[in-house]
């Protein structure tokens, strides 16, 4: 009896869902205002008056994939520079500071000029130039009013101040009490117009330290780096955080060049969600961001990853317990197969009923954990479908690779479980509703959809695409993309080192 009634209930639940979505989009459309400034900067504003707070999300359509050759981590440096402030915030005397910063660059140029002589470089001269650079930096540092930018935001009740750099995007975000909305306009517009690269070379050390933490001292980090640089031969998705020696030689003048190219207004999308008046926001947008001169859209990335002609393998030795990652090339996020790949990912690793958990973790007890990801490391360009597995004590990476192969080869032949397809779609939808709860989460989703998919409304219509996915579609993408020829297998194996 019990199971009968629950079956009916769940049936009703599913029927109710599409209605709910329809209402949501219409309801959201009423509350969203969208406009573009003359210089090309785009704004999305959504009113939500439940509490007197507002979330800001500035999305720049540039990421680590756009890093210049020889200077990986340039895009990432901007995430670190936002805290350094502007002309009016962060300096004790900006006129003198600007001169001092120019002197730093000049001193650095002289040093590099000598270095370029390579073996013919004069050692004593290099030492003098290094000392001169050090002195110039110290001289510029005396004008710095440290962390003034972040202090001003925190003092005004700002929360969640942060920035993030991905391969395709750079995001700057925080929330304020809604009566201080104009403060965000004043600070953010000045920084976008003219960021000041003060303390650039110290921050470069911090980025180097970040690499030490995320990659050099992390078995997982090393494995992922090896996997990406093996899977991608040509495309810049082959590196996430930047190479150590590139970081150590980054230049502020390179960053300024990068800013000029990529931080043009037309390459920026701002979304604002919360207790605001759209008319007022528009006035402020014109007042603060309007004067930023327009510029040409940045160059497109030409490099396309060539087709892979056979399986690739890579091994990383560390002291840590082993892991294995297997990654398959798949098309970009806007490709029609994307929803079917998302469902496949859900079938494999969504929740406890996911095949990886059921078969590798629970039944065969080979894996301590196993997860898959449909979009790795980023989605704008063709990327990877990845599976990451951690062997149990006494099991090996080879055991896991074999079990994974058995699983997907079997799935390729058998019909895909209709119930599982339905379950995954329901879960993806429910996860989406839960994501609408916070202002900041919504601001981020809207800005990303606008840039990656062409409209914030795609946040909703994507779900309709998802609804159309059939079991046959899942089986087709599985057979098409998850092939040996198309993949890279990366092992992290344990090598014990005793004593010194």
């Amino acid at each position: 009896m019990n199971s009968m009634s629950s079956w009916k209930l769940s049936g009703l639940g599913l029927l109710a869902l599409p209605l709910l979505w329809g209402q949501s989009l219409a309801d959201f459309e009423k509350r969203v205002t969208e406009f573009t400034l003359k210089n090309g900067m785009h704004f999305l504003v959504m009113e939500r008056h439940e509490s007197p707070t507002v979330a800001f999300h500035a999305h720049v359509n540039v990421g680590a994939a756009n890093d210049p050759a020889n200077a990986s981590s340039t895009a990432h440096m901007f995430e670190h520079m936002i805290g350094k402030g502007t002309a009016s915030l962060g300096s004790k005397n900006f006129v003198l500071e600007q001169k001092a910063l120019a002197a730093v660059e000049a001193a650095y140029d002289r040093l590099e000029e000598e270095r370029r002589k390579e073996r013919r470089a004069d050692k004593a001269q290099m030492e003098r130039l290094e000392a001169a650079l050090k002195k110039a930096i110290a001289d510029a540092d005396q004008y710095v009013e440290q962390n003034a930018f972040t202090r001003e935001i925190e003092k005004n009740g700002g929360v969640g101040f942060n920035a993030s750099t991905g391969l395709d995007t750079t995001n700057y975000f925080y929330s304020l009490p809604s009566n201080r909305t104009e403060l965000w306009f004043a600070l953010q517009s000045e920084w976008f117009r003219q960021p000041v690269f003060r303390e650039f070379y110290k921050e470069r050390d911090v980025v180097r330290e970040e690499r030490r933490m995320r990659v050099d001292s992390s078995a997982q980090g090393k494995l992922i780096e090896a996997l990406l640089s093996t899977a991608f031969t040509a495309h810049p998705y082959r590196n996430l955080i930047g190479w150590a020696t590139d970081i150590e030689n980054l230049r502020a003048k390179g960053a300024a060049e990068f800013h000029k190219t990529y931080y043009v207004p037309a390459n920026v999308t701002i979304s604002i969600v919360g207790d605001v008046s759209p008319a007022q926001v528009k006035l402020w947008a014109e007042k603060y961001f309007g004067p930023i001169p327009a510029g040409p859209l940045p160059p497109r990335l030409n490099t396309v990853e060539p087709e892979q002609n056979g399986e690739k393998r890579v091994t990383v030795e560390t002291e840590a317990q082993p892991f294995v990652a297997i990654a398959y090339h798949r098309p970009e996020g806007t490709h029609p197969d994307d929803p079917a790949i998302a469902v496949l990912d859900g079938i494999l690793s969504g929740g406890r009923t996911g095949k990886l958990n059921r078969e590798l973790v629970e039944e065969k007890k080979l894996a301590l954990g196993a997860d898959s990801g449909a979009t790795f490391p980023s989605g704008k360009y063709p990327h990877l479908f990845i599976v990451f597995m951690v062997p149990n004590a006494g099991k090996t990476v080879e055991d896991l690779e074999k079990a994974w192969d058995e699983l997907i080869e079997r799935m390729k032949k058998e019909p895909v479980d209709e119930a599982a397809v339905k379950r995954v779609k329901t879960k993806l939808r429910a996860g989406f509703i839960a994501g609408l709860d916070s202002n900041s989460g919504l601001a981020q989703q809207m800005a990303e959809a606008h840039v990656a998919l062409g409209s914030w409304k795609k946040v909703f219509t994507e779900l309709e695409e998802l609804e159309k996915v059939t079991a046959a579609d899942v089986k087709r993408v599985l057979n098409q993309y998850l092939t040996k020829k198309n993949r890279t297998v990366a092992y992290s194996v344990q090598v014990k080192r005793e004593g010194k």
Partner: protein
């Protein structure tokens, strides 16, 4: 001339008020504090309801007054396994797997969890599925089945996790600091180990549930898209039949440990960075100085603008992350901790810089601006405590669970606004005690440019190695001990008698061993009681292992010369020595050893130091037939069994010339002794010859 003029104009502009300073902000809109309905069900369970119609979702959580602090030391992890399998082990009606299918089909979840002072069972669902999901939630909370297969699975996963415990430097740093400060032998600092895990049985989980999961010990909060009256009626109906009672749960244990100050170093060769923590015990949220301490730790290391962040990251570029927090707990002191990471070579410099900053905040008043910034931050961001209705509910719920006043957040806010510079200095002097600091550094010691001893503090090595399980020993009684002695006496007699056994000074054996597909020629020289040299011809060359009772060396093909014997090999050798029959049968005459009869023909011999072996007698001959010891295999404990035969006399004592080895019941190898000689006069010098 023009340049000068431009400069002048620019300077004048720079001196003018910047735009952001001229902004006038309107008064902040009104904060809506949502209404929460509270009541107690007839069975004694307290309920908190909050209607929130923003999204068509409902979620709830039951807090149960229990926690890992109540775990018995010898079964550390029992509450973790219990809370983990409460949901996965299913209910009477359905297995955990069936619940997974049912819930995931409607995008719902029911989960259980536990921490030090709190057990929880939670649910979330779309509002259409409320009744169905509440039913599952009720069953999991009131009558979990704890099916054995999920207990075995979770135990095995924890076993694997124990093996990975020391892989991630950041995690090691957190765990070692917390455990060291709280005390590794206290409920606050104990870790789950192989042996505590092995003792956990299904009955323990049922007993845990019975003891703590009863209505008067549970508070339930639900928020979302429902009607309060209807929800109340529904809950009254669902929980009407749950009326079990238990004695009230006692107070949680208190923190009593006083950690030894100094530096604790964990060496990891696969990192180039130091993960560190510096600090000592923190305090309680209810301390009257808590607001001043929050201001203090905020100025010291609470944000991007803190002194530590400015000095260590911004000014010196030494770290990616550095921060400090005054840890305050509801019931027990949290941890005052300064933590971060820096490249290994700048560890000492970073520590010294931190020491200087700590010293500065304890001797000088903070500036008026620092104090105001810290306060303004809290005052202006206060509204974010109310930006979602669920926050008000979860806060109230926690306060009530831990016995804090409802208005705690507001009184904290008021007290914080009243903090003066002098208060900050006073609490810094009173509560921050550098002489008590525990410094934990997980690092690659090969890359420390400056030795840690430069800090002039005692240095303790942390052993980043998983504890091997102690052998379980059967309970002994006077009768079983007497039986053990008698059985051992018969074996001594059968092997040649005590007099002959005691006369053996050394033994030299030449063996042919088969280990799986590998054939090995062995020569073993053994000098009573604990010195041994083993030379083996392996397919890839000759391996020599020598041990003088304390340390030893290995010579292996490819190695540049004799290498000191690593810890795992030392342990293996000492286990082997314990298993030597000639000495083992004399255990009744050795100090510290227990010989216990554990079966008709079986004795268990233990040394009280974690070594134990079972010896089985052949009743026909009185000779030892089998020796069984427990070893750690990749899957956990495994029995290693040696079966003895082909007994021949050497120097008046019978030695087995054939030994068959089984591992976990499966054949693992055979050793045939070509010759065995006794009392050859072999010397320690010969044994340790390099």
């Amino acid at each position: 001339m023009r340049t000068v003029l431009t400069l002048f104009v620019m300077a004048a502009m720079a001196a003018a008020q910047p735009a952001y300073k001229q902004l006038q902000f309107p008064k902040l809109g009104e904060v809506k504090i949502p209404e929460i309905e509270t009541f107690t069900l007839p069975n004694g369970m307290k309920v908190y309801l909050l209607e929130n119609h923003n999204l068509p979702l409902i979620n709830g959580i039951a807090l149960v007054r229990t926690g890992t602090l109540f775990e018995p030391a010898d079964k550390t992890g029992v509450h973790v396994i219990a809370a983990g399998t409460m949901r996965t082990g299913g209910t009477k009606a359905k297995t955990g797997d069936q619940l997974d299918e049912q819930l995931e089909a409607i995008a719902a979840g029911v989960e259980s969890g536990i921490d030090e002072t709190l057990g929880s069972v939670s649910f979330n669902c779309l509002k259409e599925n409320t009744d169905e999901v509440l039913g599952v939630f009720h069953d999991v909370l009131t009558a979990p089945e704890f099916r054995q297969n999920k207990i075995d699975l979770l135990k095995m996963q924890y076993r694997s996790a124990i093996g990975r415990r020391y892989d991630d430097a950041g995690q090691v740093n957190n765990a070692e600091f917390s455990d060291t400060v709280y005390g590794k032998d206290t409920p606050f600092g104990r870790s789950i180990e192989y042996e505590t895990l092995d003792r956990i049985q299904r009955e323990d989980l049922l007993a845990f549930h019975k003891r703590y999961y009863f209505p008067k010990n549970v508070r339930l909060a639900i928020q979302g898209d429902f009607d309060k009256a209807a929800m109340r009626a529904r809950l009254e109906q669902i929980f009407a039949g749950w009326t079990v009672e238990q004695a009230p749960v006692p107070e949680f244990p208190k923190v009593t440990h006083a950690a030894k100050p100094g530096i604790y170093v964990g060496d990891k060769k696969d990192v180039n960075q130091t993960s560190f923590s510096i600090g000592h015990l923190g305090g309680l949220l209810s301390d009257k100085d808590y607001p001043a301490l929050e201001v203090l730790s905020d100025i010291l290391g609470g944000s991007f603008d803190s002194r530590l962040f400015r000095k260590v990251r911004t000014e010196m570029g030494l770290a990616y992350s550095v921060g400090a927090g005054w840890g305050a707990g509801y019931l027990n002191p949290g941890l005052f901790r300064i933590s971060g990471s820096t490249k290994a070579e700048s560890t000492v410099l970073t520590f010294q810089t931190i020491q200087q900053e700590v010293n500065r905040i304890r001797t000088e008043l903070v500036t008026e601006q620092e104090l105001n910034d810290a306060k303004e931050k809290v005052v202006n961001s206060f509204v974010f405590n109310f930006d979602r209705p669920a926050k008000t509910l979860s806060r109230l719920f926690r306060y009530e669970y831990y016995g804090y006043p409802k208005e705690f957040l507001f009184s904290y806010q008021k007290a914080l606004a009243a903090v003066k510079r002098e208060d900050v200095l006073r609490v810094a002097k009173q509560y921050i005690q550098p002489e008590k600091f525990v410094y934990v550094a997980i690092t690659n010691t090969d890359q420390l440019k400056t030795p840690l001893t430069d800090l002039k503090l005692p240095v303790t090595q942390l052993e980043l190695k998983v504890k091997e399980p102690k052998k379980e020993v059967a309970a002994a009684s006077a009768a079983s001990l007497a039986q053990g002695k008698a059985l051992l006496g018969r074996m001594q007699q059968a092997m040649g008698g005590m007099e002959k056994l005691a006369a053996i000074r050394d033994v030299v054996m030449v063996n042919k061993a088969e280990l799986g597909p590998m054939k090995v020629n062995q020569k073993v020289q053994w000098l009573m009681p604990d010195k041994v040299r083993q030379e083996q011809e392996l397919p890839f060359g000759k391996v020599i292992a020598a041990f003088d009772g304390k340390s030893g060396f290995l010579v292996a093909p490819g190695a540049p010369g004799p290498q000191p014997m690593p810890a795992p090999v030392l342990k293996q050798v000492s286990d082997e020595l314990f298993s030597m029959l000639v000495t083992l049968v004399q255990s009744d005459r050795m100090a510290g050893r227990t010989v216990n009869g554990v079966g008709e023909n079986r004795v268990e011999i233990s040394d009280g130091n974690g070594k134990a072996a079972r010896l089985e007698m052949d009743p026909a001959t009185g000779l030892p037939a089998k020796l069984i010891v427990e070893a750690m295999g990749p899957q956990g404990k495994v029995d290693v069994e040696r079966q003895f035969s082909d007994w021949r006399e050497v120097g008046g004592v019978k030695f087995p010339h054939k030994t068959v080895i089984l591992q976990g019941g499966k054949p693992a190898g055979t050793t045939l002794s070509e010759t065995i000689q006794a009392n050859t006069g072999v010397t320690l010098e010969e044994i340790m010859k390099k």
